[in-house]
Each structure stands twice: as C-alpha cells, then as structure tokens.
Amino acid sequence: MSRDVTSEVLAFIVSRFPQAEVTESEDIFSLGYVNSLFAMELVMFLEKTFEITIPNEELRIDNFRTALAMADLIGRRSADAVGIAP
C-alpha cells in the first residue's frame, strides 16, 4: 500500500498551525511559526509515523524547509521499507 507522505506531513503541519495555508513547496520557516518545540514535535512525528531514524547529520534546515523536502528525507531514510512512495 503506497502512502502519500507529502500529504501526511502537510496534515501534521496544519494540525499545529491551522491558520497557515501551506503548500507542499512552501518554506515553512518563512511563515514564522517554527520554534524549537515545533521542531522537536516535527522530528518525533516523522520518526514515529514513517518508522525512520533521523541522525544528527540529516537535521539540516534544508531537509525540513518544505513538505516536499521532508518527503525526500523520509524516502532516503526509509530505503529499507517497502511500499513507501514519497
């Protein structure tokens, strides 16, 4: 079963910041909502939902700037998983 990773990431962001109208390619940092609490929640969400581990070297801002970038990151980290279509 394939998953729409980008949509799931977007849904999480909107659940935290419903006032934001975020597209998959929009820079979430430019919206001004990102703080350390959200960053922590976001990483925990990605690791739990997609059953991946994000090592320190992948915790770069460019990997989290957009939903598409996060989907790419998830795709790289879940290379062993079957059926995930970023």
Binding site: S15, Q19, A39, M40, N56, F64
Partner: protein, 390 residues
Amino acid sequence: MSTAYEVTSEEEAAGRSHLRSFDRGAVREFVDRHIVPFADMYDRLGRIPDELLDRIAEAGLWAPFLSAEVGGAGLDMVTLGRVHEEVGRGCSSVRSLLTVHTMLAWAVQRWGSPAQRERWLPEVAAGRTLGAFCLSEPGAGSDAAGIVTTAVDHRGGWRLNGTKTWVTGGQRAELFLVFARTATSIGAFLVPRSTSGVSVQPIDDMLGTRASMLAEITFRDVLLDADALLGPSGFTAGMVLTGTLDLGRYSVAAGSVGIIQACLDACAAYTATRTVGGTQLRHLPLIQAKISDMVTDVRAARMLVEEAGRLKDAGDADTIMATWVAKYFASTAAARHAGEAVQVHGAGGCSPRHPVARLYRDSKVMEIIEGSNEIQRLTIAAAAYQGRAA
C-alpha cells in the same frame, strides 16, 4: 516470602544492594530501606552522602533507561516514571539528582555522536560519572533565550565563558551539560568538571530540596575540543534543550506524585493515632475531606504521568504537551496537599518531628523548576487554540 528486592548474603555483607527488577515494589523497598529513614537528616545536612549515591549506582538506578550495551537496563519511560515517583516519595533532593543525571544521560544517548556515546554512556549508566544540567543564569531563568554564556569558535574547538546558577547536583557532578550561545544558535556542550577554568561555588540554605547540592558554576575561558558540542547545530539545536527539559519535566512530575503520596501516607498514619477530645482525627469530616482529596489527586496525577510516559515510549510528539500537563497538575497538587499535610499535623507539622515540613518546602520548588507554573499555563493554554484559526 520472596521479594523483588533481594540481596544475597555476600552482597549484604559487602553492603551492596542490587535491584532484581525495577517494578514499583522493588524500588519502593529500596527507597523505604535506604532513603526514607534518612531523608530528614539529608535535609538538615544539606547534602546527600556518597554512601547513598553509591547504593543508587549499585542498584542500577542512575540511568536504567539506557541500553544494556552501555550498562543500562533498557527501561521504558513509564517504568522510569514510577522509579522517580518512588524516589520522590522518599526524598525530593535525591530525586532531583536523578532528574538532572537522567537529563544528561538521555541527551547523550539521543543526540551524542558515536564517540560521545562510547565515552560517556557507560560512565553515566554506572553512576561513576554524575551529570548536571546547566541552563539558568543569574539573568535568565524561564527566559532560556536570554542566556549570555557564550561558546566561541577557537582554533577548531570552543572557548566557553559565562556563569550558570541553580545547578542541581552541581556540587557533586563530574560532567556538566552546558547551554551556551554560539554564532548561530544555542548549543549544548559536555564539559567535564575537571576542565581548566571551571569553578564551582556551593549554594546553601535553599527553601526546599536542600540536599540537592546546588551550585553556581563559572566557566572562564574554558577551552573545549570540537566534539564537546552535543547534537545538531543550526535550527534544530534547540531540540536538544527542548527534549532534555521535557524529560526533566517528566521526572519532576513523577517526583511530585511521590510527594503527594508521602503526604497521604504521613497524614493517614498520623490521623489514625492522634486524638482530639477523645476522637481520632481520622473520624473528623474535615480531616476526611483532606484525605479524600489527596487520594483523588495522587491517582489523577499518577495517571497523567503514566500517559506522558506511554506517549514517550510510543515516540508520539503529543508527549511534550502531555508532560507539561502532568507536571503542572502534579506540582500544584503536591504544593496544595503538602500545605494541608502540615495543617493536619498542627504545630508538630511545623517541626522537624514530622516529614511534612520538608515535604511542604520541597513541594514549592516543584512549582518552579523545569518551567514555572506560569510558563506551563501559557504553554498549555496555547495548545487549547491549536486547530483554531487566529
């Protein structure tokens, strides 16, 4: 009758006391034997003796959540919370030392490089190296973004300058997790106490947790290797602080449950024997009202802590808010019931003859550390508006 807390005759003779399991009964037995009878003495001394610190190490209680490969027991967070509750029931100063050590150990496990984990985790798992958490400064408490301690690039490493205060365990710890401002963010640094330029000034005569060996620590031109920096740099650096404080908050919440339980135990015992006008206090409706509220709140607080623990074990991001709620509820309930516990004990409750005076002083601290109640309420209220447009 067998017990989860067992020692062999050889261990007993050697003064050792290994825990055979970390279930509540085993830890309770350890606490009742090694902590409860001495907690008031620790409070008066203003320190925890090395003998107890060693016993905690031998029991494997310093960081049992670490993996077995580094000497831990791979304990889940729900059970860890129960451990901290039981220790908190016995002595909040001891639990405070567990809290800050836990924060450092978890941070190294979660964010450390392979070299950092190899260097420090066996040490902190065994309790050979005790950790402390250095965030607050003379001019920055709740406002963590206001810290002025700096870590500046210096010949491929770092030069650290600044002063940290209210450092729990600072008098005794050998490894400090220090938060400092870098050129790009706030970074976390592992600083051994033995590093040149580190000086420790004890802080005594606090209101509560008087035996938690607080210190003010000054870092003056402390030179560190590049690998002293813990975790990522850049935008995610704040996650080290957020995650570490979250775990500290969880421990304080659990310890606050322990305080409520200790208040309940003390009041139930006292009111069952103390009489007024020929009637045991336990039969007076106003006493029963206080006892019933303690029973209710300790169960509610315990459930909130366990919920936060379950979410941590599941890796669920909702654990952060659940922990805020648990800490807020448990700490305020602890302060409220500790006040009532003193009231129930009358003049004796204001004296060193009963533990409730210590519980009362310790409970106040719970409302301030790891996020004051005011900050907690702001954060919790903000969550109420998630899902609603501004």
